[in-house]
Subunit: 140 residues, 2 copies
DNA sequence: AGTCTTACTGAGAATAGTTATCAATAGACT
DNA sequence: AGTCTATTGATAACTATTCTCAGTAAGACT
């Protein structure tokens, strides 16, 4: 009898630190880095260790409570996504950061197919589309 | 906040180091990081300083001799311009990390379509598929 | 070929973002 | 209250990249 490990199943405790970080994320639509969130918490007189901020955001991203992408500058930035339900993807402007939520069966089916063809199970995927939006292109 | 210098205006000398780095890039269609290129040069018994590799690649990218993108892992990776044949995606086992390279027109077309529908230009994308490979699943 | 200018180089220090370590703490459950 | 263990905080370690600066070598011009 073997135990199946599923990261989304591990018990997550509701700590003061986790709640504080979540509140920051819920207070904006923008992507925020771990460092930024740590500073914002300091301003609110909430002392949360930097390592805790990193760990919590990382875990939230794995459990799909928040979205994580890599900025052009190299930092991982996080956002509580407006669309709370359902798997989906993002179309992001490299210039101004405006983000459009997109989804559709095409990639979902394609990734499933590719994974199955290679004998993989418990499949998931990440996909982000980047470009220059109409507005920014006009200004350039 | 850093001061931006226009590197395209300064004279570029053809040094042994620059030639060696260019040869590495011309020897493959894949994206390579500065660290990887530095190791490859070592294997060819060419001693080129790591800082020089970083500086040279950075300058080549600014002068648009090569393409530079940020990998999901956070590194800047470089490729000799032109053909997009090197573009592909990864199917990664969450357990053992084994990685399979995959590609196909399906997602390429889909992402292009989605971006165009939303008025985006200069489109790029990132996609990774995760799962449990046959081997690891059997062991579990 | 010799000389001059200055872009370029290498080694290491410095920086930025992130992850690992580990003893102490505090949720959750009986 | 007591137990179990996920979580925390301070800091060390790590990875990728940039900076510093004295020494080197393209390339231009005699
Ligand atoms: Zn989203
Ligand atoms: Zn834009
Ligand atoms: Zn595996
Ligand atoms: Zn693609």
């Amino acid at each position: 009898m073997s135990v199946k490990v599923d990261l989304t199943m591990v018990k997550t405790r509701s700590t003061q630190q986790r709640v504080a970080i979540l509140q920051i994320l819920e207070g904006t639509d923008e992507f925020r880095s771990a460092q930024e969130i740590h500073k914002l918490l300091e301003q609110k007189k909430l002392k949360v260790g930097l390592a805790t901020v990193y760990r919590t955001l990382q875990k939230m991203a794995v459990q799909e409570d928040i979205d994580a992408i890599r900025s052009a500058h190299g930092e991982i930035i996080y956002r509580k996504c407006g669309q709370k339900e359902g798997h989906h993807h993002h179309l992001i402007c490299r210039q101004c950061g405006i983000t459009i939520t997109v989804d559709g069966p095409t990639i979902e089916n394609w990734t499933e197919k590719i994974a199955k063809e290679n004998g993989f199970r418990e499949v998931s995927h990440t996909l982000d589309i980047f470009g220059i939006c109409k507005n920014c292109y006009r200004k350039a």
